[in-house]
Point group: C2
């Protein structure tokens, strides 16, 4: 039988000592998690960029998802926002509300995964807060550094800018549908690969590297079309070459199967890709492509910003009924 935390009547202090203290790397300012606050010990040469996101059980993850997946999601959603701001991540705080079903093993797996991701992204945990709730809810606030002139806005694209997308879109959508179970003919190996894309999203950290060439950037978290519309800011439109939208070969196969009932438009209205969409002056095309290649990042030029409002395909037809994921609906 699993040992639940509530069976042990464990104190907050014990949980922090046993599972969370390893995440502070003894960094100055964390007070080894023995203070109610902390201080950020970042370089004064840069601005401190802040972003914050909450993920909630039954909305952003299922209660039976692996704790490693939940750990990766809470870091990914924030790292991805920092990247879209042109910023290098440095530290984060963590507010965890957990219910009594969480056990020792869950906390161990969750914090071990955080620890591995901290090493990968060179970040540390600054502090946080513990509370009880009926549903698991996790908030993280992230701190990054960027030079003032390189902090990227979301809605300052210019007419004639190229529109770029990193990585592939849509695999996470299939992964989500597979986790919810949907009728399909996808082979086992590919099922795992799609599910992994949904359960273990990986932020694209290209924003900091390419910031000086970018006018406007956003991470694709609320759907390609929705995030594109945010970049266009009700001021401009876009001409999109739908054929150049980057998709994995596995996804292409599914789209070609008329029985799959998976359509490109659904994919592009769904979020959770955590790739970047950004716009840049045409003159930076070669520089961007070479920078992406050097960093082993797939980069696709998928269209350009136009004066006329609306999103058009390459035959100049208006693409209708495009929506984005709304956290409140």
């Amino acid at each position: 039988m699993k040992k639940k935390l509530s069976d042990h009547c464990l104190s907050e202090e014990f949980i922090i000592d046993k599972f969370f203290k390893k995440l502070n790397y003894n960094k100055l300012g964390t007070f080894n998690f023995e203070n109610d606050g902390a201080y950020l010990n970042l370089s004064k040469k840069y601005q401190t960029v802040v972003t914050t996101d909450t993920i909630t059980e039954n909305v952003d993850f299922f209660s039976k998802d692996p704790p490693e997946s939940i750990a990766q999601k809470i870091l990914c959603v924030n790292l991805s926002d920092l990247s879209a701001m042109g910023s290098l991540p440095k530290a984060y705080t963590l507010n965890i509300s957990i219910n009594s079903y969480i056990d020792f093993n869950w906390l161990k797996k969750f914090t071990n995964k955080l620890s591995r991701l901290q090493k990968k992204y060179n970040i540390y945990c600054l502090g946080g807060d513990f509370s009880k709730s009926k549903e698991i809810s996790i908030t993280s606030t992230f701190f990054g550094q960027a030079k003032s002139k390189n902090i990227l806005p979301q809605n300052k694209c210019q007419v004639d800018d190229d529109i770029w997308v990193t990585g592939n879109l849509g695999d996470s959508y299939i992964g989500y549908k597979l986790c919810k179970s949907f009728d399909n003919k996808i082979d086992k190996k590919n099922i795992l690969s799609f599910k992994k894309k949904y359960l273990y999203p990986t932020p694209c950290m290209f924003g900091y590297m390419a910031a000086k060439y970018i006018n406007s950037a956003k991470d694709i978290s609320d759907g390609f079309f929705g995030d594109l519309k945010k970049i266009l800011n009700k001021k401009y439109g876009a001409k999109i070459n739908l054929k150049s939208i980057p998709l994995s070969n596995n996804l292409k196969k599914i789209l070609l199967d008329s029985q799959s009932k998976i359509y490109l438009k659904d994919i592009l209205c769904w979020g959770d890709d955590y790739e970047l969409i950004f716009t840049s002056k045409k003159k930076y095309k070669v520089k961007l492509l070479s920078l992406a290649k050097k960093n082993n990042i797939k980069l696709s030029n998928i269209g350009s910003v136009i004066m006329q409002r609306g999103v058009f395909d390459d035959s100049a037809l208006l693409i209708k009924n495009i929506s984005s994921y709304d956290h409140f609906r």
Copy 2:
């Protein structure tokens, strides 16, 4: 009938525009809440102090509590932590998870209260995040400024330090019991005053003013005894003059009534006072008292730090079975 948000199918964008944008004061770095991130535009002369807290329905407040009370609680718990760190508050982020019972009126009252408190404490909202959940849960991360040498640790008291407490303790405990309804003979006017102490806690912002005279400080959020023990850090003990524990006259009356079943020890194990407890070298006694008087803050010297571990009363008797509020039990 109340208009619920879910009836309207309102978008996140609409809610942010209508209720939250007023909180950013058009400050540089907030991007008028049109970016997924923001940047902190604080003076480079100081360290950036960070603290974060979550409050949850049915744990930290009741679902029918006034939205103004919930707004005051989420700011108070964080402001109080910043004060205990010797820091001046500057800005904060807000992550709100709300359920479908929240209506227009709720959001209006909640954000109007935040706006009034922002003016009082000279702070602004840097950004945040919206999500859905079964229970209301609100996280806020606060940013303050302090000189490096004035950032206060919780657990660096010294033997012979005076132990100080601001304001009065325990009114919030009675207020909580009254909100939960308990048999009492308290007159109506006083009932309201006690409930107000629980529903509208006010942080004591003395920490920043007095930082240079303080060795160790904590806000009293988990109970006087529990927070005192955190300051003593399992290294030292304390001699406490129980008669000098600051209590309101209304509370003293209740304690004297043998039928009230309210005991001093229960009060001192309960949290939510949001006053400060701190230790300071004896030589600063006069300076501290004069600083407090100048700022109209009640300050009581309630004992001193001793070498022998344990908490003793003024008859040198060990005070037993003292616990603090644990967020996880």
